[in-house]
Symmetry: C2
Subunit: 633 residues, 2 copies
């Protein structure tokens, strides 16, 4: 066997953090350079020192409104019975908002309160007191007053105030440049023709965006092959050209992971391996008095390690995302060896927040794309129970989460389309779908963790969909069924159906892939097998469970599987053939009291809309005679 | 009198909004153009359509870890007693994370579980099942799956997922260009030598930043003088060159406000005047099928009108700032005619949020710079009582507010310096100071609306500072005094002291400006007057009250005032002369139970620090013998 860095000894996040940052501080590496920036160009920059006003605003005593300026003492006795007559140029001057008021004038009367006698004469019928309607010099900003403190991110209003305070330039922290080196023989640039074994480099662009998002400058280098000398040369180039260097992948214990050896040769590796999941094989090094970070290859590991270790180097501002208490909708077992960061969907039901864990794999970018928050399972914890209250760090604004319609249950591509239509039609409503199968959805509804539960569960005795199971699970009158779509289920087989699979009976002869227990498609399969008297044990792959139609389709596309069951749209989108098995009813279970929720109303509007039906027509395999009808259970 | 647009008829925000946007929609003006953007450049852009994956991720069945790939059936019987021997090339292949796995291999064994016999032979002692440690094709992203929905703002993780899903270009909304025309004879560009009557144009830069902050492109034009034809020409130029045009000022009812007349001539004025405060004189117009908005001249009016009317034109995303329930610390009387937007400081005391209203003037930019939120007083409401719970829209993240140390009470420039030191030293602590005078601060403490209350109140009987009043106001043992600074109080007079003012007695001869009732400086003055037997009625300006040292200094600098009382640093910063009157003690009252609050601990650390003392030495006028000592009351 070739040499590997087999036994990666990991340390805790805190230990890694303090070890690395102590050293960075000691060597004065974190010192931020500053530069002068024009105030008008300073949006989003960070002040490196407090800024004190150089002039007053207003610069002079100024009228606060349109009218005339007068000497207040001359108006003292004005009344309706005894009006005071004033002469232009002698007793008063006409002024517009912002005009300077100078002695002897010391008050302003608003235009509406002035009675015109002729072009040069007016009368007034009530007195004004000294300084009435005058904005005194420095009312808003006084010379020497602190306008902004250090470490402040410049907002539009700040720019207005700085200019009004006579500040044309400000001292800001310099942006940092970060070199990003993607490495790996198998890594390729995005292109049209991909072949097996190719891995598109997406990490380096994600990392570059993460850097740019912090207001600093990411600089991506071309992909470097797994070659000790080439990687070393590129590292040296980036280190000398940038403030910070990130090298992606090559940080774990594989045969071709040269990074840690090179970094040891040219500098100091302070940390290799942190007990977090995802993110474990991170490298924290210092080379030529500059931070060099090896980010792991799995996208989520890279993302998290960036968040934990690169952000604090780049930015002096803390992460301000909000933390809430949420109820975990699932039991999560976690290793005692790691602190785990679990991506979750978060929804609000009444006054509780529910966190539904997404795919925990380090490779699952989509889990992060779809996530509303991160749930942290501490090291030394065995996990979290379903129903347990836990801290969730939000990735979205809370009000965005409050305006989310939660759907947990069976998966269908039409839910994606509905969510897109909602996003286009309504600014402030979002549909969040989590796919756990029909039964999983109904159990979530039972626990009050979802608003709607898409379901297609067949009653084996009556052949009727959804109603029987709801009657069984819920008290009478509590829940309703929003009727959805008729959906053709069938067998997906390879393009051209090379094995000539014709029906359910045939699957005993070939390699099958199944859906998980509780999925409506699984229930339908089991029902059909029972009708046909086929023992599931006879099916090769009956125990191989996948959790979405699309996953089944992808598996059938692969060389390991010959057939699987699912909906036509999934087969079509993967270019598979499809053999119809039956029509089922894909409906939405909901607590009756929630039917009036504005988000639910909009949802019903959309499932009934021609816009959706036209799109489903194009996909094929759907019927919608009763869509939107409410069935009370 | 010259012609004015005197009686501006205003309508409600809702009415204005629906009137204007109905018309914009009807004329199809809000339609957003789209463009293709490279995925790698799409950070922060908004998708104009849903994006579906074009390839699977992973592209193929891939090993999830470093090890060897095998045929699972060959490992079926492996155990410690009965190890299975495998040969390289025949029974297994060495694989690194991400490598493709092809038939006949269908499982991966991790490197750590492999026992090496020689370079080409290994043994294993436990079986693997089919597909163990393999990431199946499409595990993360399946062809045809929706990666992003429409109207989604692209985040770094999205860029990673899009590239992994084979998407190299995406359809986004085009950025909009917005022309900004500053107008007014008195408006000037920022420069060194300002003369009376000059108003620096800060609004146009603030507006440009507001536009850029939304991701669109602000284009500022040079200042246009108040000339009908010049303004008309510039308006036409901007309207033809940009998607939207904003003209600043000239929207109210002044003598030189041509804007509305010009807009009526070249297009349609849909709304002129909205019943909001600040922001009333906004103009919403359509010219050549493009939105033209006249924003009012006062900075806060412009800011608010932008938020209400320009943002919805620019961006399809809703304002997502959070709304909280907060207790108003002050009674606010508001006109029935307007909906008023009051800027507030927000602080958390135990589990309540307290909102302290800031300066309500439309010209007060600093009120917005310092604001943590906006409290909305509805039209048809007479105002809000102190202690009343009210909705506050946050301008900051809630966690930022939770980490704020609230100080309400007497003002001293040293509080600015402390807040700057805190901002530089601690990422996650902010000091928020509101200035209401010593007594105002103690009353706020009594109502539990502040953590610390800076105070310098003299007991006229004993001549001792702060302790007597605290004993009177609070139960024994409840509060403590954090000793602060000795501070020299005195008379501020014009530079060179042209009137030769020598002492308190002299102020009866000249024009004075006073501090508000409850301010420590006022108490000190009254005490001195009593000692000297001077009747306050003899002082010209005794009733003219200002609320900070700096405001008094600015007033003394103006031609209307000869002298005022305050601290030396304020006099110095305005270039005034200073005549010492006495030394007082500027301390910090606090509930004893809050002394252990980490934020308070940091505050005490800083007021004791050499860093602060060095800065105060430079200012002059401070002593700090007992600073940081705790006196239990």
């Amino acid at each position: 066997m070739p040499k590997r860095n087999l036994y990666l000894k990991t340390i805790s996040v805190e230990e890694a953090y303090s070890k690395y940052f102590e050293l960075l501080n000691k060597q004065n590496i974190l010192r931020m350079d500053t530069e002068e920036v024009k105030t008008v160009d300073a949006l989003n920059r960070i002040t490196s020192e407090a800024i004190y006003a150089k002039c007053n605003s207003p610069l002079f005593n100024a009228t606060a409104l349109d009218g005339i300026c007068v000497e207040s003492k001359k108006t003292k006795n004005a009344s309706e019975e005894n009006p005071v007559i004033l002469k232009l140029g002698i007793d008063y001057k006409i002024v517009d908002t912002g005009d300077a008021i100078k002695p002897p004038f010391d008050a302003v009367i608003m235009a509406e309160d002035v009675i015109e006698i002729d072009d040069e004469t007016i009368k007034i019928i009530s007195p004004v007191s000294g300084f009435e309607n005058i904005r005194p010099i420095g009312e808003d900003i006084v010379v020497g007053e602190m306008i902004l403190e250090s470490n402040h991110e410049i907002k539009p209003i700040d720019i207005g105030a700085l200019i009004a305070g006579g500040i044309s330039k400000i001292k800001c922290y310099k942006k940092k440049t970060v070199g990003i080196i993607p490495t790996g023989d198998e890594i390729i640039d995005m292109k049209e023709d991909l072949k097996e074994g190719d891995i598109i480099d997406s990490n380096s662009y994600m990392i570059k965006s993460l850097i740019n998002k912090t207001g600093n400058i990411g600089k991506r280098y071309d992909i470097v092959k797994d070659d000790y000398e080439m990687i070393k040369a590129k590292l040296k180039e980036s280190i000398s050209a940038n403030d910070i260097t990130i090298i992606n992948a090559g940080s774990s214990a594989g045969t071709e992971d040269y990074t840690v050896h090179i970094l040891r040769e040219i500098g100091e590796v302070v940390v290799h391996g942190v007990s977090i999941k995802p993110g474990k094989p991170v490298i924290l090094a210092i080379v030529s008095s500059k931070p060099v970070i090896g980010l792991p290859g799995y996208p989520l590991s890279a993302y998290l390690a960036f968040d934990l270790f690169v952000k604090p180097i780049l930015s002096i501002k803390n992460d301000l995302s909000e933390e809430i208490d949420a109820i975990s909708s699932k039991r999560l077992i976690s290793s005692l060896k790691y602190r785990e960061y679990v991506r979750v969907k978060v929804g609000r039901i009444e006054d509780k927040y529910i966190a539904a864990p997404l795919n925990r794999g380090a490779a699952s970018q989509m889990s992060m794309v779809r996530a509303d928050g991160i749930m942290i399972i501490p090291q030394n914890s065995e996990g979290i129970e379903a129903g347990e209250i836990t801290k969730v760090k939000l990735l979205k604004n809370k009000s965005e989460i409050d305006n989310t319609l939660i759907s947990i249950g069976s998966h269908d591509i039409l839910m994606d389309i509905v969510s897109d239509i909602i996003a286009r039609k309504y600014n402030n409503i979002t549909l969040s779908s989590t796919h756990v199968g029909s039964m999983g959805g109904l159990l979530a509804l039972k626990r009050n963790e979802t608003i709607i539960a898409p379901t297609h569960l067949l009653d084996e005795n009556t052949g009727i969909y959804n109603i029987a199971i709801l009657k069984e699970m819920f008290c009478e009158g509590k829940v309703s069924l929003i009727k959805g779509f008729n959906r053709i289920q069938g067998l997906m087989v390879k393009k051209g159906n090379p094995l000539n699979i014709k029906n359910i009976e045939d699957i005993t002869k070939y390699r099958f892939v199944n859906r998980q227990r509780g999925a409506g498609t699984r229930v339908l399969l089991d029902y059909k097998l029972k009708l046909l008297g086929i023992d599931p044990k006879r099916i090769d792959g009956y125990d191989k469970e996948l959790s979405t139609h699309m996953a089944v389709a992808a598996s059938v596309k692969s060389p390991y599987t010959d057939c699987g069951m699912g909906v036509k749209s999934a087969a079509d989108s993967m270019g598979l053939d499809f053999i119809e098995v039956g029509v089922e009813e894909y409906d939405f279970a909901i607590y009756t009291k929630n039917l009036n929720d504005i988000k639910v109303q909009k949802f019903i509007e959309i499932i009934k809309s021609n816009e959706l039906h036209d799109k489903l027509k194009k996909l094929g395999g759907y019927g919608y005679e009763n869509v939107g009808n409410i069935v009370n259970i």
